[in-house]
């Protein structure tokens, strides 16, 4: 079953099209990578998925229901979201940052604490050491890990990642990509992963959707993508 589906979705701001006639289905458990240049509409597609934006035409379905029919707050709590700037709350400890969504959703306190400890250990940041730290006391890579843990905290079926590793040094980025693959294997989340890095797309994606000026040029497996001949695909492959 497609957990997230774009049905002929268009989005425009003041008659300037950002996305045009997008059709995509994200199957349960897969990682769909949206690959494209800056301004190709990738991030907009994510914001259409969790109801931060609504399509001007067509509809986005999450678990078979249009985002317009979802309660906007429930929809967002149902979908994990990781962004490049992380957006951790600087006045919250690591533990409070990770426990945010479960607390908003009204989990009992002991469950939240257990969940936070487990996630911290899963992302390789021992709870005993990192629980009480503040984001400013972490490295960029650690912050991004906490961002991923926060997105996973309430166990959402769908995860949206907007260039999550874009600001990291290449070595840390590689490590976090590996960790993301491990998490995918263990948790089997359905993910939409936005990147402009073709290596990352090939490494992490079950499928790659190539976005060019607001349209989907092709959707293919990473292996097929490497053999693609469209102009934009070749431009990206030249970066390898």
């Amino acid at each position: 079953m497609a957990l997230v589906e774009f049905r002929d979705v268009s989005y425009e701001i003041e008659h300037r099209p950002i996305l045009s006639h997008i059709n995509l289905a994200v199957e349960a458990g897969e990682t769909l990578v949206l690959l494209g240049r800056s301004g190709s509409g990738k991030s907009t597609a994510l914001k259409l998925t969790n109801g931060m934006l609504f399509p001007t035409a067509g509809q986005v379905l999450v678990e078979g229901r249009s985002t317009r029919e979802w309660d906007p707050i429930q929809l967002k709590r149902h979908i994990g979201y990781v962004i490049q700037d992380v957006g951790l709350f600087p006045h919250f400890t690591v533990a409070r940052n990770i426990g945010l969504v479960p607390r908003l959703a009204g989990w009992p306190e002991p469950d939240v604490e257990r969940r936070v400890d487990r996630l911290l250990n899963t992302i390789g940041m021992p709870a005993s050491e990192f629980r009480t730290r503040y984001p400013r006391q972490l490295s960029g890579g650690q912050r991004q890990r906490v961002g991923v843990a926060r997105a996973l905290a309430a166990n959402p079926p769908v995860l949206l990642l907007d260039e999550p590793f874009g600001a990291l040094d290449p070595v840390t980025r590689f490590e976090l990509q590996q960790q993301f693959l491990d998490l995918q294997r263990d948790f089997g989340k359905t993910s939409i992963f936005v990147t402009h890095d073709v290596r990352e797309a090939i490494r992490l994606g079950s499928r790659i959707a190539l976005l060019v000026r607001g349209t989907v040029e092709m959707v293919s497996s990473p292996a097929e993508f490497q053999l693609a001949h469209t102009e934009e695909a070749r431009a990206f492959l030249a970066c390898l």
Binding site: I73, I83, V86, G87, L100, V101, R136
Partner: protein, 204 residues
């Protein structure tokens, strides 16, 4: 004779403190909610402009303008408090507004994306992160108000200004100092105390 002066200093200092305290309490109670409002509704930003205009009116003139106004005007404490509130409002209003808008947009975006309601965003994210800036505004407003409140004596509002006006009229330096020194000390104390609070609320 000396003990008379001491008693007067104590009485007028308490009067002065209550003028400042009441005015600042009202200015904070109005300024923070108004600041939140204008941060969230761009259409209400004219309030900021209006408040800036009030700030430019010389204080003695403002007292003069207020006297003939029914209900809030007249001679005495009430008029003084209205004027002090009007002066104290701008720094609090502006700092609340700037503090909230100054919260990192990535942090606000992620709060919304996590499914925070608008009220949760305000209480859990924007206000705590703006707290330092808001307190800085209250600090500026309070220190200024301690000084401005000395003019209250001109319209019968009491406070340490009574000494200063009397001293100026009778060319008596002792009287002027009896008003000026406690006022200066009070300003320094507020500045230090609120500065300490400001640092306590700095999170990043």
């Amino acid at each position: 004779m000396r003990s008379d002066l001491t008693n007067d200093i104590i009485r007028l200092t308490i009067e002065h403190l209550s003028l400042v305290g009441i005015s600042m309490a009202i200015a904070v109670a109005l300024g923070i909610p108004l600041g939140i409002l204008i941060a969230r509704t761009p259409a209400a930003r004219w309030v900021l402009g209006l408040s800036s205009i009030v700030q430019t009116i010389p204080s003695l003139a403002l007292f003069g303008f207020l006297i003939p106004i029914p209900l809030i005007g007249g001679i005495g404490t009430r008029t003084v408090i209205v004027a002090l509130v009007l002066y104290g409002l701008l720094p609090i209003l502006r700092n609340t507004f700037v503090g909230i808008l100054g919260v990192d947009s990535a942090v606000c975006d992620s709060a919304v994306a996590m499914g925070m309601t608008s009220g949760q965003l305000l209480r859990q994210v924007q206000l705590p992160l703006a707290a330092r800036t808001i307190i800085a505004g209250i600090r500026v407003a309070t220190v200024t108000t301690v000084g401005t409140a000395t003019i209250a004596a001109a319209i019968g509002g009491g406070g340490l200004g009574v000494f200063i006006f009397r001293g100026v009229a009778s060319v008596d330096t002792t009287e002027i100092l009896a008003g000026a020194i406690p006022a200066a000390l009070m300003a320094l104390l507020f500045d230090g105390g609120l500065g300490w609070l400001e640092r306590k609320f700095s999170v990043v």
